[in-house]
């Protein structure tokens, strides 16, 4: 125990001696938080929409006015009377084409078809545009009493948005950023530190000493967990200040989850460091791989249910996936253990595997050399 603690202290003092690394260790998480927190928004506001109104009647102008009144769309110019040209150029995201017989048909109590051409490149917003135009059209019909009187059996859906009634996207993205930051940086730092000992040959001294592989790794593990806790606190404080994120309800799942998650991240870093010999390029590759999996296979941006089969199986062993469940619950829903009780267990299992594997590898090297 004392030897582990000595390792821990040695590791920390070595870490704080490298000023550039210290600075980057605490600045990079903040940079990631700022960029992701502010720049990842999925739903477009102020969508440029151009109008081709062949009817140009009072009714059609009223319809157009109603569409822009929703604040979801802003007018964009129509180029050369070609409904698709502005979309080709990226000036408009959609064009609404109102046919010449628009008002006449409606007055005849008949049904008229308006064409909406939508830029399908951005798949998500293509759907948002479709829903938006349909909803405002419905609203226009109702507010102008154009829906024919009918007997009144009417289902009225009262939609309540829980936890996030204003549909703030930051409440979705920011808790997810914790999963990316607290995975990538602690594991990267741990991997670099381990590789450095190999490169500089100081690891041979460890082999020669009677320190066991597990003790050596545990000392490192604890040191980088401590650094990770520092990163977590800074990230949490800045997220609270900038995005108004607060811990909701019981804080213990977040506390336990964070420590377990950091332990798993560091264990992964140690595993990579022990594994890759002294090729720093490989560490770099692994850092990018870890970054991408934490970013892509964790449900950070898009729903995890959308990931297709072979990858969805892989996503089950990505700890960030479980940690993001914990942070979203702790920072937005506030349900507590009832919702996320299994998550720390899953993380601990994966982290334990990496630590065990790292010990095995190191153990073998210790004796074969």
């Amino acid at each position: 125990m004392r030897r582990i603690f000595a390792q821990f202290l040695k590791e920390l003092s070595q870490f704080q001696r490298d000023r550039l690394t210290v600075a980057l260790a605490f600045l990079l998480p903040l940079a990631v938080l700022l960029i992701y927190g502010y720049a990842i928004r999925l739903e477009a506001k102020n969508i440029p929409l151009s109008i081709q109104d062949f009817d140009n009647s009072q009714l059609s102008r009223g319809y157009v006015e109603r569409i822009f009144a929703s604040q979801q769309f802003v007018p964009a110019p129509l180029l050369d009377n070609d409904p698709t040209l502005a979309i080709d150029r990226g000036i408009a995201k959609a064009t609404l084409v109102i046919p010449p017989d628009f008002s006449r048909t409606i007055k005849d109590k008949d049904s008229v078809e308006v064409q909406v051409l939508v830029d399908g490149t951005d798949v998500n917003n293509a759907r948002v545009i479709q829903n938006g135009i349909r909803a405002t059209t419905q609203f226009f019909l109702r507010s102008d009493n154009l829906i024919p009187d009918r007997p009144r059996p009417q289902v009225v859906a009262e939609v309540r948005l829980w936890f996030n009634p204003g549909r703030e996207e930051a409440f979705y993205i920011v808790p997810g950023i914790f999963g990316v930051i607290l995975w990538v940086f602690p594991s990267m730092l741990a991997a670099i530190a381990t590789v450095r000992e190999k490169e500089q040959g100081t690891i041979v001294q460890i082999y020669a000493s009677d320190l066991s592989a597990a003790e050596w790794l545990l000392g490192k593990e604890l040191a980088y967990i401590a650094i990770g806790i520092g990163e977590a606190l800074i990230t949490l404080v800045v997220a609270a200040l900038l995005f108004g994120i607060r811990i909701q309800g019981d804080p213990t799942p977040l506390l336990v989850g964070t420590i377990v998650f950091l332990a798993a991240a560091v264990a992964f870093g140690l595993f990579v460091g022990v594994r890759t010999g002294n090729q720093t390029g490989a560490v770099q590759g692994t850092a990018i791989a870890g970054f991408l999996t934490a970013l892509l296979l964790s449900g950070f941006i898009y729903r995890i249910d959308n990931i297709p089969f072979p990858l969805s199986a892989l996503s089950n062993v990505i700890p960030a996936r479980y940690y993001i469940l914990i942070t979203r619950d702790a920072l937005v829903r506030g349900t507590g253990w009832a919702g996320v009780g299994f998550a720390p267990l899953a993380i601990a299992l994966i982290g334990g595997f990496f630590f065990f594997a790292a010990t095995r590898i190191l153990h073998r090297m210790q004796f074969s050399d």
Partner: protein, 378 residues
């Protein structure tokens, strides 16, 4: 003529051959050139999907009538929702939403069927987990549309067709009629892959020489600084061009992207973008002392480059400040070019702003990094 003769007579050519051999002999770099781009492209293309289907719906049906079952059937009909649980009470349903086990909950009150038969408005409650704001918004839109359709069905005269609304919106999706998400992401990811691989490989080749100390030996040869650099850039450029071909082959074969624009133009502009990546890589190498620092600093540059490029989340959705900031991101211009040329059939006239921006960035990045490299040489 004189210049050309100098170019291919001996020294530069020999240096280029030396660099190429060195790269190809280094298994690590060959690995970096082939493996990560393939995996990244596949993972990004398959994993990023904003689709809203199969949302888990819980139902608390107090009415237990034919009408209420019909409403549930209408909600699940087009696969946006799937019923995953029936709960006895509204409270139990609420607990399911709170625990994150279902995304939406439908509460049908006991007098639902009675109210409908008395021609009154029959309210139902839909609870939506709003944590995922984007999905919640789209789900809400769908619920409203489905209920509207359902109401239309209710007013159908027993004999006839459901009457259509006075205005029917006919929505056509251009360029990507099936709304395949991979068509949105893959062109952007080609840019991401080139940025990551290009900057990584070029910084590795330069920093290696610094690390091992062979740079000094090169300096003692009669080769000029520009020759050393040219010899470094040319093989990298050719190999990365191979990555462009690899990426477009994957895009074509695996993701079935249409490549509607001029492919040669796409190749040419990708080549232009490669100079930006190489410039970035050399710049990173001049900034750092060793490879560990390259790892950390490359994050500092690559994360904002990728995030502001619109490759992963659309630029139009960003707040205004970041939308404007994105103009200073070379990757943003490349992503726009790639998307336009792969999905739309547009030419230079629609893209000249982006092309100009890429050219400026290429000159700027290469210029700055070459200058720094030369300063460090002397």
């Amino acid at each position: 003529m004189n210049f050309l003769r100098r170019l291919f007579s001996g020294r530069l050519w020999a240096l280029i051959r030396k660099e190429t051999q060195q790269i190809l002999r280094n298994k690590q770099i060959v690995f970096l050139l082939l493996f990560p781009p393939t995996v990244q492209l596949l993972v990004f293309g398959l994993a990023l999907n904003p689709e809203v289907t199969g949302l888990d719906l819980g139902v608390a049906d107090y009415s237990r009538s034919a009408d209420s079952r019909e409403l549930v059937a209408a909600l699940v009909e087009n696969d946006v929702f799937q019923v995953s649980t029936f709960e006895e009470s509204q409270a139990a349903l609420g607990d399911q939403v709170r625990a994150g086990r279902i995304t939406a909950g439908l509460v049908i009150p006991p007098d639902f069927s009675q109210e409908l038969s008395e021609n009154q408005a029959a309210p139902v409650q839909v609870l939506v987990d709003g944590v995922d704001a984007n999905t919640a918004g789209i789900a809400q839109g769908y619920v409203e549309q489905i209920v509207n359709r359902y109401n239309q069905g209710l007013t159908t005269p027993p004999s006839g067709q459901p009457e259509s609304l006075p205005i029917e919106t006919q929505v056509t999706f251009l360029y990507n009629p099936g709304l395949l998400s991979s068509w949105f992401f893959v062109p952007g990811v080609i840019g991401v892959v080139l940025t990551l691989t290009g900057s990584l490989v070029s910084s590795t080749t330069v920093i290696r020489e610094k690390d091992v100390g062979t740079l000094e030996q090169l300096l003692m040869t009669p080769a000029a600084g520009w020759e050393i650099l040219m010899a470094k850039i040319v093989p990298l450029f050719v190999l990365l061009l191979g990555d462009v071909l690899l990426a477009s082959a994957l895009a074509r074969l695996v993701f079935d992207l249409p490549f509607r624009g001029n492919y040669l133009l796409f190749l040419g502009l990708s080549a232009l973008y490669l100079f930006v990546c190489i410039g970035l890589g050399i710049f990173l190498a001049t900034l750092a002392e060793n490879q560990q620092q390259v790892v950390l600093t490359s994050f500092f540059f690559n994360v904002p480059l990728i995030q502001l490029s619109g490759a992963i989340a659309p630029i139009e959705s960003m707040p205004p400040f970041f939308r404007h900031l994105s103009f200073f991101d070379p990757l943003r211009h490349y992503v726009q070019i790639a998307r336009s040329l792969i999905l739309k059939d547009v030419g230079i006239d629609a893209l000249w702003v982006n092309i100009l921006a890429l050219a400026i960035f290429a000159i700027l990045f290469l210029g700055v990094s070459i200058n720094r490299f030369r300063a460090q040489l002397s």
